[in-house]
Assembly symmetry: C2
Homo-oligomer: 115 residues x 2
DNA sequence: GTCTTATACATAGGTATCTTATGGGTTGTT
DNA sequence: AACAACCCATAAGATACCTATGTATAAGAC
């Protein structure tokens, strides 16, 4: 009844990708796999979301793309985090945390505002 | 540089409304105000999002609407949480928490998966 | 040796839900 | 008299997901 991977919440994919690429460059498929694995299969990035997102982030200067070879000797497009991307990552993690806190202040309050 | 209300993340409004109405019925404007106040001005629900959302939740049977009078003696449409809405609230709070945890497992990990 | 699964990229079309803009009207304060 | 706060509602535009589709290669099962 639990688990089988949730749909992504809009706006949360970018920060997941940026964070994943903060360790090491990866190709698209690898990014997706890494996110899935590090979230215990909960976050599944669909390809139709993944590739446009990578292009988007590259267009904004947060990622740099280059063609390379995978461990299994296949051609793949790798993405590396730029320094602008690293700043963006910081900003987005902070924004996400603030949002989570704001949500918590509403969802876990025990009395209404004028209660 | 901080605060002045963040844009809502898609999909998070419904649970905010349901939770707000779990205390007492309120009219639309009151729901918006309550969310804003209990989130320390961080979450501002635009009217263009608020009223469609209320209709949506009513259509799904999670809210019931009725016309009444405000404390300031004005006509207003009040919404009350149904029992189905209360179940939905529980489910959505749980889902949100799971999502937050999944995000945290990616964003706050200190080593990559194969690190 | 063929089938299936996993690896790898990419785009088109559909959908949902937000923001912005606009419209209407009432009450209270300066 | 003007303005802010209170109240409702919808249309148009933007964004970013999901689903479906297409291509291609490599590895493993049978």
């Amino acid at each position: 009844m639990t688990n089988p991977s949730m749909k992504l919440i809009r706006g949360t994919l970018d920060v997941l990708i940026l964070k994943t690429l903060s360790w090491t460059p990866l190709h698209g498929y690898g990014v997706s796999k890494s996110i899935r694995e590090s979230s215990a299969e909960l976050l599944q990035v669909e390809e139709g979301a993944l590739y446009p997102a990578l292009k988007r982030l590259e267009a904004r200067g947060w990622l740099e793309a280059y063609w390379g070879e995978t461990e299994t000797h296949r051609e793949a497009k790798f993405y590396r985090l730029t320094s602008a991307g690293r700043k963006q990552l910081q900003a987005e993690v902070t924004a996400w945390q603030r949002y989570v806190d704001a949500m918590a202040s509403v969802l876990y309050r025990e009395q209404p505002v004028n209660g």
